[in-house]
């Protein structure tokens, strides 16, 4: 049993990785990556039944898709730290000839990535397809997705939501990073999703859960609950409250850190707030 404290320490190391990767590449997306670090750490170190000896077809294991591909530094750190590829390789992020492309890609055969993402709004469709293939293969494992809240503005998501409910894709758990921020400002300013996202998804025929994306215990409990709700004819949607840039004091909650790299002094200040736990790459 991985305990909460260990998961939290892993998430802290993952956050150090994120900051150092984006700083090293002088580009990338720290805000959403930091905000989802607790969730993705919990998913790979506790929730998923997965095999770091990567199989593209994901048969007989749970499968995860990152729809908001810009938070690739988080995805790569978690994959490396859970054994998909050497942690050392994180230093090649966004560099020429790296397997760690700016946004997740399959062309370079990075273990752990099953589909390219980065152009937003496509992950739920892909995941619903993968979930259907699990049913056809008589594979009882689950399909998980993480997506952004700004990303919800893409119409394709709603086509996928409609499809998954209609076709009873009940082996699918979608989590939205509900940080209230996107590039041009807060989601409310840019294009309000409406105060009641829960009601929208419910009306589309999904089961809804709420989760505190910065409370490891709550993440574990909510994901366990979600698992028990699968197989009942409805797909599951988790509204995960997070803060962009969590927990770096000068980043928290600001859309400004959506997609810029920290300077040398920013990095120093940020790392001072995150004690290294598993050793830096």
């Amino acid at each position: 049993m991985t305990d909460i404290r260990t998961l939290e320490q892993t998430a802290t190391q993952v956050r150090r990785d994120i900051l150092r990767m984006v700083h090293g590449a002088k580009s990338g997306h720290p805000g959403g990556s930091l905000g989802c670090a607790d969730f993705l750490t919990a998913l790979y170190f506790k929730v998923l039944n997965h095999n770091p000896k990567f199989n593209m077809n994901g048969k007989n294991e749970d499968v995860f898709f990152l729809s908001n591909g810009h938070i690739s530094p988080l995805f790569y750190s978690v994959l490396a730290r859970s054994g998909y590829f050497p942690v050392e390789e994180l230093k090649t992020f966004r560099k020429l000839h790296s397997r760690l492309q700016g946004h997740p890609a399959t062309a370079e055969h990075l273990p752990g990535v099953r589909i390219a993402s980065g152009s937003l709004g496509q992950g739920v469709s892909v995941a619903a397809g993968a979930a259907l293939s699990k049913k056809l293969n008589d594979d009882k494992n689950l399909v998980y997705v993480l997506m952004g809240d700004g990303e919800l503005q893409e119409g394709q998501n709603w086509e996928a939501f409609m499809f998954a409910a209609h076709h009873k894709v009940d082996n699918l758990i979608v989590t939205v990073d509900y940080n209230g921020q996107q590039i041009d400002g807060s989601t409310m300013e840019v294009l309000g999703l409406g105060a009641d996202i829960e009601a929208k998804l419910k009306a589309f025929g999904w089961e809804i859960l709420h989760m505190d994306g910065h409370n490891m215990q709550n993440i574990i409990d909510t994901m366990a609950k979600a698992k028990t709700m699968t197989g009942n004819g409805k797909p599951i949607f988790i509204i995960m409250k997070t803060e962009m840039g969590q927990p770096i004091d000068f980043m928290v909650g600001s859309h400004k850190w959506h997609g810029i790299a920290p300077s040398d002094s920013d990095l120093e200040k940020a790392l001072a707030q995150l004690p290294s736990t598993l050793a830096d790459y």
């Binding site: 580009s27 020429l96 700016g102 062309a107 503005q153 893409e154 300013e189 840019v190 294009l191």
Partner: protein, 317 residues
């Protein structure tokens, strides 16, 4: 080879932003739409100056194209702004049906085209957009080369009735055309008269071709260099006039070889004036992460590659 004075080094997207801001002041029918990339597209000035004519549509590009078509019905002149990938491939049928086929006066303005967007990688680096857009009947396709030309093109397309695809980029590049040049859609621009070979270049590759021209001059090769900022409609007369003289052609663009400027020129020459052609373009491959300079080199798009292409084509004369 003529020397071109570099006034400054600026991104072409800022030229678009400046042109749009100027249009806001001079043309009350110009409206702008953006899909959560206002800063990246440099549309913030227009947004601030004309909040009532600026529409933030969120991350919903398909909707943006439809909205623009509708605004055009009411005699507005909508300029849509997002990255080139999300301006074209993402919304192809919306453009095809609601803009091109319906012949609406929509200006599709696309930044971060090609590999020079850099580190974001292949998901964002569209190299097929010129092809996608030029295949559509009624569509005009423009790829200016620097800040001044992008600004001028932005202003010019407001006066052109019909759908336009305006393509520009992210990195800072030499700004060398004159700020007072008027932009004439469909008119090839002679940058240097020569006799041995014609280089037809578009977009960021125009500067690379100028650098190649200097290197070639030292080798005794006399290059004619023509800036094809408008890929459709193609200035067939200017192209044929030049090729009749030089009888050897190199095309240069930050785009797939399939479907780009070189492809258009080859079609024209095959019909009218069969001539040896070498193409500097991406050869049937996706891009990847890296710095703009690294990627220009990696995909064979820099001055060195243009020089090599000229040397190859000269042997085929």
């Amino acid at each position: 080879m003529k020397k071109f004075e570099v006034q400054n080094v600026k991104d072409t997207r800022s030229g678009f932003g400046a042109g749009l801001s100027e249009l806001g002041k001079t043309n009350p029918n110009v409206v702008a739409l953006c899909a959560d990339l206002t800063g990246s597209l440099k549309m913030d000035a227009f947004q601030k100056e004309h909040p009532e004519r600026f529409f933030q549509v969120g991350i919903a590009e398909a909707n943006m194209i439809g909205l623009a078509a509708g605004l055009a019905i009411g005699d507005k002149i909508p300029f849509t702004g997002t990255f080139a990938n999300f301006s074209t491939g993402r919304v192809y049928d919306q453009i095809r049906q609601s803009v091109a086929y319906s012949n609406k006066n929509v200006k599709i303005c696309a930044s971060h085209a090609g590999v020079t967007l850099g580190e974001d990688g292949a998901t964002h680096q569209i190299l097929e957009d010129i092809g996608l857009m030029k295949m559509l009947p009624n569509m005009t396709v423009i790829n200016p080369c620097d800040y001044n030309q992008t600004k001028a093109a932005t202003i010019a397309i407001a006066d052109h009735e019909g759908p336009v695809y305006l393509r520009f980029g992210r990195p800072a590049v030499p700004n060398f055309t004159s700020a007072t040049d008027k932009f004439e859609i469909g008119k090839a621009l002679m940058l240097n008269e020569g006799s041995d070979v014609t280089i037809f270049a578009t977009g960021h590759l125009v500067w690379q071709a100028i650098e190649a021209g200097h290197i070639l001059a030292e080798k005794g090769i006399n290059v004619e260099l023509i800036n094809i900022h408008t890929i459709k409609p193609l200035d067939a007369q200017a192209i044929l006039n030049s090729v009749r003289k030089t009888r050897a052609v190199v095309t240069a663009e930050e785009h797939q070889m399939n479907g780009g400027l070189g492809d258009s020129i080859c079609q024209l020459l095959a019909r009218e004036l069969p001539t040896p052609v070498e193409m500097v373009a991406v050869n049937d491959s996706f891009g990847q992460s890296g710095t703009p300079d690294e990627l220009m080199k990696e995909y064979g798009l820099d001055a060195t590659n243009i020089v090599a292409a000229v040397e190859r084509v000269m042997k085929r004369k």
